[in-house]
Subunit: 421 residues, 2 copies
C-alpha cells in the first residue's frame, strides 16, 4: 500500500455509496475501499417488481465489482461492518478484518422499523433486500396454492386477504402490483380461486397516501387504487399483527399475507458511531454532511438527517443520496470550497400505482395516469445500471403491458412452509 | 365430483408425470389430480446452468398450473405425499389432505444418495432442485468473495479449490461450467484472484467419465475438460468429506466448494409403498410398469427399475421418463392392448462439456465438439416448455457465447454464511 495515498472507506454500496466511489475513479492520491454486506448494488425503486414477480433479481441488481472492474484505485469488499474505531480511524468487519481510513463515508441506509414491536416482523416482512423480495413473492404464491386446495371458507379467506401496511411509495406500489398479479396474471392458473375472493388492503395511519405529494395527486392515486380493487384505509393505525392477521381499532383482517411498508430506521451501526441521531436513528449532520466533532466522517443518503444549505430538509430518496455522495466525495477531493454547504436540487418526484398508472411532480408541474407512467418508466430504465439490465427490464415491461403475463411464478422453497403458517 | 368418472392421481410433475397427465387432457371419463411438492415443472437437464449463473430459475421452470390452465379435467395440487393407503386407494399429503384414486401413477424421481454418509450432504450439496442450484451458485460466488479479501495463502486456496464428485453428465457439466465461469467470467471482477489460483477437480470412482458413452467419446470429453483446466481423477473413491475438504486415498483437497453429483436413490415414499426395490431404492416394475400385486399402481421414470419388453434396461433420463408416462397413461385409457409391454425407444444421448463443446451419440453415429454442442443446444431449446423460455434461453446462450459474460452474479443471502465455512 502506498503510504502517501489517502485511504477512503465507504460503507454501503447503495445509490449514495456508489456515486461517492465513482468520483475517485482514477485519482492518484486516493485509495478507495467500498464495503457492502452484499455483493451487489440494488436498484431499490424497482424492488417491489421483484417481490411481485414482474422482474427477476438479476434485472435490478449489478455486482458492485463489475461497476469498478477497471478502476485500479477502487477496491470492493464484501463484509459487514460492525464497529467504527474513530480514535484509531479503522472499521471492523464480521469477517474479522480491519480496514483503516483517513476519510470515512457512512452510507448504510435504513432498515424496517416496527415501532417497538419487533415480534411483528415474523408475520409482516418488509422490503429492503433481494432476499426480502423473493420471500414476499413466495409467500404470495404459496398462499394462492393453499387457497386452491382449501375447501373450508374461513381458513381459505385468510389466504386470499393481502394486507399492506403503510401508504408511502413502496406500500402503494406493492398494493397495486399485488392486486394486478393476483387478479389478472395469477387467477387463470387457479381453478378454484375467483377474482371476487381476493381482497387487497392498504392501511395508512395518516389522512392520505403518498402524503409528500400535492393533495390532488395523492387523491388521484387513492382513486386509481380503488378502481383496481384495493381497499384503502386512511387514518388507521395498526395495533397488532400476529399469525392470524392484523387488528386496527375495530378493523380485523385475517390474513397470511401481511407486508410491512410503514417505517424505517437507521441501521444499528449508526447508533454505535456515538453521534447525535434523530428519532428514526439517523445521524444529524450539518450542511457539510459531517458532524462538528469528526470532520473526516461523512454521513450520506438515508443514514443522514440533513437540512441543507438552503434550509430544506433533504428527502430519503435515491436522487438525494446520489447528490450527497457526490458532494461528500468532492469535499474529500478538495473540489468544493470549505464553506460551500450541500444544496439538494429537487428534480421531481414520481410514484407508480399500476400498469399504465402513475403520478409525478416535476418542477411544479403535475402529471397523472398514462403520461406519468410513461415518464416513470423512462426515468427508471434510464437510471438502471448497465445496458443489459435496461434492455431486459424494458422487454419485460412491454411483454407484461401487452399480455398481462408475469414471468416467473415459481416457488423455489426459500421459506420453510412452517414459517408461513 | 362426478362418481362415474375415474380418478387418476399422478405424484410428481417431472418429465414422466407431466407427460402422463397430458394424455388425459379433455377426456370425459377421467379426472386427473397432479400432485407435486413444488409449484413448477423443472427442466432438469439445464439445472446446472442455473447453478453456474448462466440462466435464471425462471428460464428453465414453468408453473405446472400454467401447463394445464385450460384443461378442465386436470387439477394441479401443491402438496407433498407421505403415505399411500393401497387398501382404501388414497394418498395422504403433509397438508393433512387425502386424495382418493382409481389409478395411481408414481413419478417421484430420485434424490441424492451419499452411500450411507448423510453427514456429507452439509459440506457437499447435490443438484436436484432450483433451491439446490441457487445454493450452489451462492457458495461459489461467496467463496470468490472470501478469496478476494483473504491474504493468508493457505485458507485462501481452500476458497479457490472447486471439487465435483461424480463424473456422470451432471458432474461433467458442472465441472466444465464452473471452470469457465470462475476463470473467464468471474476473474475480471476480482482484483486479487488470478486465473492460475483457481483449481477445479472432477473425481470419478470408475475408470471413465460419462461411462455410458462409447470409450472414444468419453475419452474425448476427458481431454476437453483437461484443456479447460479441469483436473480429472479417475478410479478415485472419495472416503471422507468435511468442512476442510475431501479425502480420497492419498489425495487430499482442501475446499469450501464440494458438489455432489455421484449417486441417486429413490425418494422415501417409494420405500413406504411396500413393493420390491433395487439397491438404489427404485421400485422393480414389470413390462407393464406395474407390480404384479397392484396393477392399478404405475411407477415411471427414475422411480422405476424397469427392463422393457425387448429386454433392455430403461435408462434414468428424461426421454425414457416421458415415454413411460405416455405408456402408463395410455394403458389406463385403454389405448394399449393389455399384453403389449413398454418398449423404450432410444433416440440418442448427449452431454455438454462447455462453451462450444459436447458429445452426442444418435442412432449409432458419434458426434464431438462444436457440431455436438450445436445439436445439444437445439434439442434442449426445443424441449423446453413455453415459447418464452425458449426465446430467453437462446438469447442468453448467444449473448454468453459472444461475450463470455454470465448474467446474474448475485448473492442474495439465501445461505447463512456460517453454514458455508
Amino acid at each position: 500500500m502506498d503510504l502517501k495515498k489517502k485511504n477512503v472507506i465507504i460503507i454501503g454500496g447503495g445509490f449514495g455509496g456508489l456515486t461517492a466511489a465513482k468520483q475517485f475513479a482514477g485519482n492518484k492520491e486516493f485509495n478507495v475501499t467500498l464495503i457492502d454486506k452484499t455483493n451487489h448494488h440494488l436498484f431499490q425503486p424497482l424492488l417491489y417488481q421483484v417481490a411481485t414477480a414482474a422482474l427477476s433479481p438479476g434485472d435490478i441488481a449489478t455486482p458492485i465489482r463489475s461497476v469498478f472492474r477497471n478502476k485500479k484505485n477502487i477496491r470492493v469488499v464484501m463484509d459487514e461492518i460492525t464497529e467504527v474505531d474513530k480514535e484509531n480511524r479503522n472499521v471492523h468487519g464480521t469477517s474479522g478484518k480491519h480496514y483503516s481510513y483517513d476519510y470515512l463515508i457512512v452510507a448504510t441506509g435504513t432498515r424496517h422499523s416496527y415501532f417497538g414491536n419487533p415480534e411483528w416482523e415474523r408475520h409482516a416482512p418488509g422490503l429492503k433486500t433481494l432476499n426480502d423480495a423473493l420471500d414476499i413473492r413466495e409467500r404470495v404464491l404459496w398462499s394462492l396454492e393453499q387457497a386452491e386446495k382449501e375447501t373450508d371458507p374461513t381458513p381459505r379467506q385468510k389466504f386470499l386477504n393481502f394486507v399492506i401496511i403503510g401508504g408511502g411509495p413502496t406500500g402503494v406500489e406493492l398494493a397495486g402490483a399485488i392486486s394486478e398479479i393476483t387478479r389478472k396474471t395469477g387467477i387463470n392458473d387457479f381453478k378454484n380461486v375467483r377474482e371476487k375472493d381476493i381482497h387487497v388492503y392498504l392501511i395508512e395511519a395518516q389522512d392520505a397516501i403518498l402524503n409528500t405529494y400535492p393533495e390532488e395527486l395523492s387523491e388521484s392515486a387513492r382513486k386509481k387504487l380503488n378502481d383496481m380493487g384495493v381497499n384503502v384505509y386512511l387514518n388507521t393505525m395498526v395495533e397488532n399483527i400476529n399469525e392470524d392477521g392484523i387488528t386496527a381499532g375495530k378493523l380485523t383482517i385475517p390474513s397470511s399475507n401481511v407486508i410491512w411498508a410503514a417505517g424505517n430506521e437507521g441501521t444499528p451501526l449508526l447508533q454505535k458511531l456515538g453521534f447525535d441521531t434523530d428519532r428514526a436513528g439517523r445521524i444529524n449532520v450539518n450542511g457539510s454532511l459531517t458532524t462538528h466533532r469528526q470532520p473526516e466522517i461523512y454521513v450520506i443518503g438515508d443514514a443522514a438527517n440533513c437540512t441543507d444549505g438552503s434550509g430544506q430538509q433533504v428527502p430519503g430518496i435515491a436522487p438525494a443520496a446520489m447528490q450527497m455522495g457526490k458532494y461528500a466525495a468532492k469535499r474529500i477531493l478538495g473540489k468544493v470550497p470549505p464553506d460551500k454547504e450541500f444544496t439538494y436540487l429537487d428534480k421531481g418526484n414520481m410514484a407508480t400505482i399500476g400498469r399504465g398508472k402513475a403520478i409525478a411532480e416535476i418542477a411544479g408541474l403535475k402529471f397523472k395516469g398514462f403520461t406519468a407512467w410513461l415518464l416513470w418508466s423512462f426515468v427508471h430504465i434510464f437510471f438502471l445500471i448497465g445496458f443489459r439490465n435496461r434492455f431486459r427490464v424494458m422487454a419485460e415491461w412491454i411483454w407484461y403491458y401487452l399480455t398481462f403475463k408475469g414471468s416467473f411464478r415459481l416457488i423455489t422453497g426459500r421459506v420453510d412452509n412452517n414459517d408461513k403458517q
